[in-house]
């Protein structure tokens, strides 16, 4: 890896135009690629997903300077190949620095539980009443009862079960973000 290579505005522009001729679209694509790379690396069990995603993009930007004019097709496979190589390097480094395999994740101890509960309570209060109600109802049943229950809920809302699933997921993402912020800040009053 050439570590003395510096990211310049010009290089970044060339990279964006390789992603998409329209700069705004290219910007969106770049954001998506970065976010999705983090998710993919997480799926691979990489606990430095953000750093590796950024390094992947840096390497692709560097290579784009030479190949942008000649490369044909979607850039996705190229990103995945670079991310794969980086991940393998990362794993090898990890094995060298630590002879032990990655520890099995310990079950989370309970001390934080009440604080998490209070934070979640606060985050639920911040949701719009309709969304709060949806979360409570969507996650309230189990197994077959849950399937029936969600169908009924979707019917009441006049949407399909899949649309309901997506809606619940998006609210849950908001809750996760709020919970992370709350836990990172001081104690809940």
């Amino acid at each position: 890896m050439k570590r003395n290579w510096e990211l310049t505005g010009e290089a970044f522009d060339k990279f964006l135009s390789w992603l998409h001729p329209d700069r705004e679209e290219a910007g969106k694509k770049y954001e998506d690629i970065r976010r999705h790379l983090i998710i993919i690396l997480n799926c691979r069990g990489c606990d430095a997903a953000e750093e590796l995603a950024d390094e992947t993009i840096n390497r692709v930007i560097r290579r784009a300077q030479q190949m942008a004019d000649t490369y044909r097709g979607e850039p996705a496979p190229y990103f995945i190949t670079v991310a794969n190589n980086l991940f393998l390097e990362y794993r090898t480094k990890l094995q060298i620095t630590s002879e032990l395999p990655a520890d099995f994740p310990e079950p989370d101890p309970d001390p934080d539980d009440d604080r998490e509960y209070d934070c979640l309570d606060q985050c639920m209060e911040e949701l719009r009443p309709a969304n709060r109600d949806l979360v409570l109802r969507y996650y309230s049943e189990d197994k077959q009862a849950k399937i029936d229950h969600r169908k009924q809920l979707a019917d009441e809302m006049g949407i399909g079960v899949n649309a309901l699933r997506i809606r619940a997921h998006r609210i849950r993402l908001t809750l996760q973000e709020c919970l992370d912020k709350c836990l990172a800040s001081g104690p809940v009053m």
Binding site: I33, N42, A49, P107, Y117, E125, Y139, S140
Partner: protein, 361 residues
């Protein structure tokens, strides 16, 4: 995202690390460019996590979830969130009346009360009501877990497993030839127990309800499901000696059934022993755990440890139905020991045999 079932199975396999590299790469390429596909992946992540907490994953999936899926801090954070959300929703089920919706007041509600003195009278009334509910819960109220366990207790009179399950006054399983047992299981009671205990897990989702549902599966013979429930319970009650003992019984039974004595059963026996040791460390007076450990040692052919455990058990058990069983185990072991030493003496004193003689003897 319609018609996504095959996509979903593929993504689920991807999340659990089941896909070979040649199938994984196209999935990742699509994930990189397709927002909807990423959203589906994130939904499935949540559903897997919720399923893990409910004990709804198969044994294989649970292993993959713990050893592959849960290896990053981000996912462990999601597991934490799922756990607290589950507890929150169980406390605030919409169908319950407002006064009984939660066992703890909401943080925002507490904040509002602190800053609004006008609510003083209402607070006093609520406190009186809360005390009343407290008395009702401790003196009169029988929880769904209690009801489920009572039904399970009434299901039969003899233990369906070789070991001792905590909290039940069943006698040992009758293993005489011709089945001299007069234990006729009442399957209706088992069904009732299943309904109460599943409901308890859905609504409370705490360690006690998972422990109780685990006992139900154990009694029913669904050992994988029992073990999953016990592990879920252990997450929030790692110091519960009875829970460790019951998990030990379930693992012991699974090991015993998977071709006793073969190498397949050894990991279960070894894991069982870890939990039974832990149970006795937490509560040295727990007779069930001592009985189960003696059995476990016996299955592992650790004869002297098994004999020590049986002796210790007989010293402590004043006269339960299990005492006789323990005495028989100890006698059998001593008989075996005598027989082995007699055989050895006989072999040493006998003249060399002609070929074929040994086989006939």
């Amino acid at each position: 995202m319609t018609g996504a079932s095959s996509e979903e199975s593929r993504l689920r396999a991807y999340l659990l690390g089941e896909l070979p590299p040649e199938e994984r790469v196209p999935v990742e390429e699509r994930l990189l460019m397709d927002r909807d596909f990423v959203e589906l992946l994130l939904i499935l992540e949540e559903e897997l996590t919720d399923g893990y907490l409910r004990g709804a994953l198969s044994e294989q999936e649970r292993n993959e979830f713990e050893n592959y899926f849960l290896t990053t801090p981000a996912r462990r954070r999601k597991l934490k969130m799922a756990r607290v959300l589950k507890r929150y929703v169980a406390n605030k089920r919409p169908e319950l009346a407002p006064g009984t919706r939660t066992d703890r007041p909401s943080g925002a509600f507490r904040r509002r009360l602190v800053f609004a003195p006008i609510w003083g009278t209402a607070l006093a009334a609520m406190l009186v009501a809360a005390v009343g509910i407290g008395i009702w819960r401790t003196v009169i109220y029988e929880s769904t877990v209690d009801k489920g366990l009572a039904a399970l207790r009434a299901y039969r009179r003899e233990s369906p497993v070789e070991g001792r399950v905590s909290g039940f006054d069943w006698g040992p399983r009758n293993e005489t030839l011709g089945d001299g047992s007069n234990d006729i299981p009442d399957r209706t009671k088992l069904d009732v127990a299943g309904r109460y205990l599943s409901d308890a897990v859905n609504t409370r989702g705490d360690a006690d309800s998972h422990h109780a549902l685990g006992k139900y599966y154990l009694v029913k013979g669904d050992l994988d499901a029992a073990i999953a429930q016990f592990y879920t319970a252990l997450e929030s009650a790692p110091k519960n000696a009875k829970l460790h003992s019951d998990l030990g019984v379930a693992l012991l039974e699974r090991g015993r059934l998977s071709r006793e004595g073969s190498s397949d059963s050894l990991p279960d026996f070894a894991e069982s022993l870890v939990h039974l040791d832990e149970a006795l460390k937490l509560d040295p007076a727990l007779l069930e755990a001592l009985f189960n450990r003696a059995l476990c040692h016996e299955h592992m052919n650790a004869r002297s440890q098994a004999a020590d455990d049986w002796k210790a058990y007989l010293e402590r058990d004043g006269g339960s139905l299990w005492r006789e069983k323990a005495r028989r185990h100890l006698l059998d072991m001593e008989d075996d020991k005598k027989k082995t030493s007699q055989d050895k003496e006989f072999k040493e004193s006998s003249p060399p045999t002609k070929p074929g003689m040994e086989a006939r003897r």
